[in-house]
């Protein structure tokens, strides 16, 4: 992992020629680092904690709750709209990621041998060029409309099926695979598809895992395209639902724990929606974190 190579001294600690930093330097560094960590983490911890706060504490507004309750989550799941949003996002994420991986790795394998395949280089340039321009919001909208994809969940999957950047990362990985293995299979008469499915893909699990995670995060975070293409609130992904209920301040319909109980305070409901939209990211993050440094670096540096 890159973090290991980053540390010049290695596991042994301070190299002999490095004088220990003075107490002042160490103090300032520690202070700055603690400040950064708190700035990054505390807002998230606060939101998670407040989503579990008891109604009275949530109304009073505390820095950190001490009495907890699950009412906000109960009310949200009773309401149904947030559950619908989560379901939609889950569908987009799972289906989108699988399709993206299939499409991206296919193209990457097709373009891995630019020297042998006539025309492949032209396609490669055509794909790379798309990283430097975009048609713009309105032409894209018109295309989706023309294709009849407005108000369809597919409008959130198909336009982003292949990312040129991810394709290049996978292509680089493919080009680094042992050539003898693939040549041997070719000599044995295996076709391109068989080589791809039975040799290339199984050997590429690490890079496919990283790219899959990147795609999944992207699909889960889909917001603007949904705003643009999806009118039907039944089909909204969770990010649009979150924007409606937290930022636009729309009340969550049906968000009550039980008919004879006052609904939980709006603030805990909002916090709970934020948490529900964030949890999947937090779940995959440890896996991402293990891989992405290497993934990003192989893509960007080794080229």
């Amino acid at each position: 992992m890159a973090t290991a190579t980053m540390t010049r001294p290695g596991k042994a600690g301070t190299p002999p020629w490095m004088a220990p930093p003075s107490i002042w330097v160490r103090g300032i560094k520690a202070f700055v680092i603690v400040l950064i960590v708190i700035t990054m983490i505390y807002p998230l911890v606060y939101v998670i904690a407040m989503s579990f706060a008891s109604p009275s504490q949530a109304r009073a507004g505390v820095i950190f709750p001490t009495e907890f309750s699950l009412d906000a989550y109960r009310a949200i799941f009773n309401g149904g709209t947030v559950t619908q949003g989560l379901t939609n996002s889950l569908f987009i994420t799972v289906v989108g990621t699988l399709l993206s991986l299939a499409a991206t790795s296919m193209l990457a394998w097709g373009l891995a041998r630019t020297r042998q395949v006539p025309g492949a280089k032209a396609v490669l340039i055509m794909v790379l060029a798309t990283m430097f321009f975009s048609a713009g919001i309105i032409p894209n909208f018109m295309l989706i409309k023309y294709l009849g994809l407005l108000d369809s969940t597919w409008s959130l999957i198909i336009p982003g099926l292949i990312s040129a950047f991810n394709m290049i990362v996978i292509r680089n990985f493919f080009q680094g695979l042992p050539e003898e293995l693939i040549e041997a299979a070719r000599i044995d008469g295996a076709g391109e598809w068989r080589i791809f499915l039975q040799i290339v893909l199984p050997l590429s699990k690490p890079v496919l895992a990283v790219m899959g995670l990147f795609y999944a995060v992207g699909y889960w975070n889909t917001y603007f395209n949904a705003l643009l293409y999806i009118n039907d609130s039944e089909k909204w992904p969770i990010q649009v639902v979150l924007q409606q209920y937290v930022l636009a301040g729309v009340a969550i319909p049906g968000a009550v724990v039980s008919p004879d109980q006052p609904p939980p305070p709006g603030i805990t409901l909002q916090m709970a929606v934020i948490v529900l939209a964030t949890v999947p990211i937090l779940i995959v993050y440890p896996f991402l974190q293990r891989y992405f440094t290497s993934g990003v670096l192989t893509g960007a540096i080794k080229g």
């Binding site: 960590v37 193209l107 395949v117 794909v127 430097f132 713009g136 919001i137 791809f196 975070n221 080229g303």
Partner: protein
């Protein structure tokens, strides 16, 4: 990402360009033969190529709307052509000027504050001796990059908004009315701060890679010659970061007209268009919401063309200054 483009460029440059080969030398198979031999490869290439054609290139044609008085009702064929009228209308539109000014102010603030921040953070983390602390801090600072803008702004709203944590604390201390999220005067700084919160950690990765590439014996030699840690950073580490930083600067300048679209779109209702309208949100609100498709498309097209010119120009400049450039 552009590093990739630059690296794959030279790598593939040596390869034979496709196209009709010169008068066939005896042993060389003809183009048709080569294509036939690789026919299965095309089953991999064609679907992806079609995808990019349809979803990246075909929409470019939609930009003709910029020269029309377009209405979705009449379609491209039925809408009257108006030449450059939409472009003339852009210059006369005060909202465009506001959007342009906001865009440029935010872009410059980002360049001043957000651009150097990852370099500073990478240097700071690199100077830590404990691997465990370093890894922990990295885990923490990379995380916000993966959260969507909706989540980031919702979280900020809960902390710095009118009903949020900070407002509550200040209220208890007898200073009511704090709300950083709707203050139009400081909004641009808020935008930059949010951007830094989300991406400063992520931005360090590429600099760590550059730092990792510095040979260890340089530090050792410098230390033996009596260089202080600060001098070692200044004379060894920083120069090694210059190529990467130049590259990122080029990209930044190329995208100077694009500032956090979703981020601003989400917050504009809270702060108002005067403070939060940028070029991209203008295109969205005027075109998709306001129905003035022609003007909005013209503004988007103009923005895209200027952006492309800026990338090409800054790339050329970087090469002239002895850097590598992107392509």
């Amino acid at each position: 990402m552009s590093v990739t483009a630059e690296k794959t460029g030279p790598g593939t440059r040596t390869e034979r360009a496709p196209g009709p080969p010169a008068p066939a030398k005896p042993r060389k198979p003809s183009l048709r033969q080569r294509m036939w031999r690789e026919r299965w490869s095309y089953t991999f290439i064609v679907p992806g190529a079609l995808f990019f054609l349809v979803f990246a290139y075909v929409p470019m044609l939609g930009n003709v709307v910029a020269f029309q008085q377009y209405s979705p009702f009449r379609g491209i064929e039925g809408s009257p052509w108006v030449g450059f009228a939409n472009f003339n209308a852009i210059w006369a539109d005060p909202e465009v000027l506001t959007a342009l000014r906001n865009t440029l102010i935010i872009a410059v603030l980002q360049l001043v504050f957000a651009f150097p921040a990852p370099i500073a953070l990478a240097l700071l983390l690199n100077s830590l001796i404990s691997d465990r602390v370093k890894r922990f801090v990295q885990t923490v600072v990379y995380l916000p990059h993966f959260l969507s803008w909706v989540i980031v702004i919702s979280v900020w709203q809960q902390v710095l908004g009118g009903g949020g944590l900070v407002a509550g604390i200040l209220g208890d201390m007898g200073m009511p009315g704090f709300d950083a999220m709707t203050n139009a005067d400081t909004f641009k700084l808020l935008v930059v701060a949010q951007g830094m919160w989300k991406d400063v950690g992520w931005g360090t990765i590429i600099f760590f890679a550059a730092i990792a590439g510095i040979p260890n014996d340089r530090y050792e030699a410098a230390a033996i010659d009596g260089a202080t840690p600060w001098q070692r950073t200044w004379h060894i580490t920083l120069p090694a970061l210059v190529p990467v930083a130049t590259l990122l600067l080029i990209l930044n300048i190329g995208s100077i007209l694009t500032v956090g679209f979703e981020q601003l779109l989400l917050q504009q209702p809270m702060v108002g268009a005067n403070a939060a309208q940028v070029l991209d949100t203008f295109v969205y609100f005027r075109g998709v919401m306001g129905g003035q498709w022609g003007i909005a498309t013209a503004a988007g097209l103009l923005k895209g063309v200027i952006g492309t010119i800026l990338v090409l120009a800054s790339n050329k400049l970087a090469k002239k200054m002895g850097g590598e450039g992107i392509f």
